[in-house]
């Protein structure tokens, strides 16, 4: 399946793009996605970030549904 990923802040700098589409296997988890991203962008693994799945913060076991909007969120700095 196709996974649509949004990158924010320093993660967009590492990926050098604000969004991209990757292909992944069905029923993959956030952990699976992170591994895939680590291979593509080794520098990303050294950074702290959260993963939002359809605008909800997920954890490593969260399963990525079909047509999900994934966002990679570096530490928050609001305020």
């Amino acid at each position: 399946m196709t996974i649509n990923i949004l990158y924010f802040g320093m993660l967009a700098e590492i990926s050098q793009q604000a969004k991209e589409s990757l292909s992944g296997k069905e029923n993959m988890t956030v952990r699976d996605l992170k591994q895939q991203l680590c291979e593509k962008y080794p520098e990303m693994c050294e950074r702290k970030f959260k993963v939002a799945v359809n605008q909800q913060i997920g954890d490593d076991t969260t399963i990525i549904p079909l047509s999900a909007e994934i966002a990679l969120l570096p530490p928050f700095a609001g305020g």
Binding site: Q55, A71, L73, F76, G78, G79
Partner: protein, 149 residues
């Protein structure tokens, strides 16, 4: 309070002006059940870094999720505290040092509710809303990504 509060626009482009704060206060003077307003303003500090002094912060956000999170923070605060009014404004884009980037305004009949809600809401914003900030440093425009503690 079980009534639903309609989502409001939180993000404003650039700094929040003192005049905007004054206008918000003035709009509440017809609400004669209000006895206490607590206002929190976040202002950009010229912190010293090894690369030089911070000259401003450039904010960006995952805007759709951020607006939704602000809405949830509002609903949660209205359910936890006996508030009459609540307004949240946050800057997006560049805010120079000395200027205001966050304006949280709560109003209630009694002061303790306003104090508690104000602090609660600000902490929620700091930890839950996907907003990102570049601290711009020195005349050459270097930067460091900011992280809330």
């Amino acid at each position: 309070m079980d009534k639903l509060h309609k989502p409001r626009k939180v993000f404003v482009s650039g700094a929040i002006s003192p005049q905007f704060v004054a206008d918000s206060i003035a709009k509440h003077q017809s609400k004669v059940d209000i006895g206490a307003h607590a206002i929190f303003l976040g202002q950009i500090r010229a912190d010293e870094k090894t690369e030089g002094f911070v000259t401003g912060i450039e904010y960006s956000a995952y805007e759709e999720m951020a607006e939704q999170t602000f809405h949830e923070i509002r609903e949660d605060a209205f359910s936890k505290f006996d508030l009459i009014c609540m307004h949240i404004y946050h800057s997006i884009g560049v805010v120079p040092t000395g200027e205001i980037s966050l304006f949280v305004f709560v109003s209630s009949a009694h002061r303790r509710t306003a104090f508690e809600a104000s602090e609660y809401i600000v902490e929620q914003i700091k930890t839950k809303v996907p907003i990102f900030g570049k601290e711009l440093i020195g005349p050459a425009g270097e930067y460091i990504w900011k992280e809330n503690k």
